[in-house]
Symmetry: C2
Amino acid sequence: MGEFELIRNFFAAAPCAQGGEGVALGIGDDCALLAAAPGEQLAISTDTLVAGVHFADPCDPFLLGQRSLAVAVSDLAAMGAAPVAFTLALTLPTVEADWLQAYANGLSAMAQSCGVRLIGGDTTRGPLTLTMTVFGRVPAGQALTRSGARPGDLLCVGGELGNGAGALPLVLGQRSADPEITEPLLAHYWSPQPQLALGQALRGKASAAMDISDGLLADCGHIAAASAVGLLIESEKLPMSRALLSFLGENGARSAALSGGDDYVLVFTLPEAELAPLLAAGWPVHVLGRVVAGQGVVLLDAEGRDITPSTRGYQHFRETP
Amino acid sequence: MGEFELIRNFFAAAPCAQGGEGVALGIGDDCALLAAAPGEQLAISTDTLVAGVHFADPCDPFLLGQRSLAVAVSDLAAMGAAPVAFTLALTLPTVEADWLQAYANGLSAMAQSCGVRLIGGDTTRGPLTLTMTVFGRVPAGQALTRSGARPGDLLCVGGELGNGAGALPLVLGQRSADPEITEPLLAHYWSPQPQLALGQALRGKASAAMDISDGLLADCGHIAAASAVGLLIESEKLPMSRALLSFLGENGARSAALSGGDDYVLVFTLPEAELAPLLAAGWPVHVLGRVVAGQGVVLLDAEGRDITPSTRGYQHFRETP
């Protein structure tokens, strides 16, 4: 048995490959099998992380395991899908048992937290690259897409913005700070919590949704384009963490919240009548602005002046994508 | 818009991303959506190909497009699943329009031939790596697994063996030969035809099945282990192409047929009563041997002597996985 076949057996025995509703056949055959329920659709998303491009190499394999799965599962949250399963295509330059064990532990921790089961994949030799494909269930016709925003809807986010970008200088070792700053920011970076429950709660309520991976302005641009509407964002309303404000100051924090990536909180549009019941039920909904007729994204200051920055894109870890 | 976002738009417009039954939402949102039909299961398989490990770099991008998809879809054939869709995670060192166009053309040709639609994926910068995840539908409980072989069943394959391994010295430029040899072997290597129709015809008939990617002996070993049975193979019964026999001679061809990889024909076990109707219906079924009580794989010569080779594994393009 080759070492890569041993790795397959190792993952088949890992906690993340056990249990899971809706999985009819897991690791070990030519295909995995997922049960299909009448009236449901299967939501599918694929994300690749390349060493040296999307994460520093070397880095802590446990944290990488957590983060690599969370980033992918966040796309299920964005569709309002209930998480089911994932596959892992793992390309490794060398086989190191300690690395694999720590990576699998991080993966298992996040899989348990998200309610997904590892059902298959591939293990190959080559430059360190991770491709996750995630699967979720959603009632037919109820998935949250990017294309349903209508003028008059509110523009909302599901949590604090900018923490991912704020953490980056800490992750890269370019800056240091006190633990009350570094701990929440690094926790957000390495162990983002996909907003799965919020996404499912927004089914039949939100008119459009996605998760913020490229930064608020850039991702709002995707909703605006897919829905053929304009979006107005009030810069005074951005929810930001105390740690981010302490670390970067108000201007720096605002910039991270607007253009930083890796937030993995949901941005969505909501008919106004849906807001009060969601708030009353305790869901984290922060109103940032409004959908208007037109196109593109406009950022407004407290006096209603257009202060949209000219560059909206966010450069991931080193380079886009 | 960054160049990698342009690539996403490029693939969204490619022929392989159009049409397709059962696809409720294709490329462009956080997730794709597949329709779920009552009483069906979704079969899922992931395959990674790394440049320099699983294929020579550089190589013809059109041929790579064909081959990379065929290799993955072959796992759907092995489960008896009807093909539906696939995702592509493409990691590229540089963006070259000609390369991408040729790759997408090859992908589209194979996608059309197999009846699968590209529904999503990811495009990233890094060392050239392709990860395909393929999706198919199968009636619940009718998937062909590796674990159902029973003593007394026939051991069968769906076509000629050894062509993939026979082609390898041609692919690598290590040998040359006349066109009547090189053309069929190279065609098999670069454009293997997943046995999708045969796989579906074997539902409810074959007791176990898989596709041959690691070589007949190694893959029979997987069926024997998963089914907890022994398999007897009669070496005189191996179906081999005229091109392979001409190129490698009888001994070389037999060795390629037994231990060569990349055949992508189905190997399956069949209760004896199922054989005649399948043959009468014109399905390509070649009986190689029999399932027995016991364990492992035994190769027999014409006189029934055990001639099992000591090394069964096949070294893929350069090194195993």
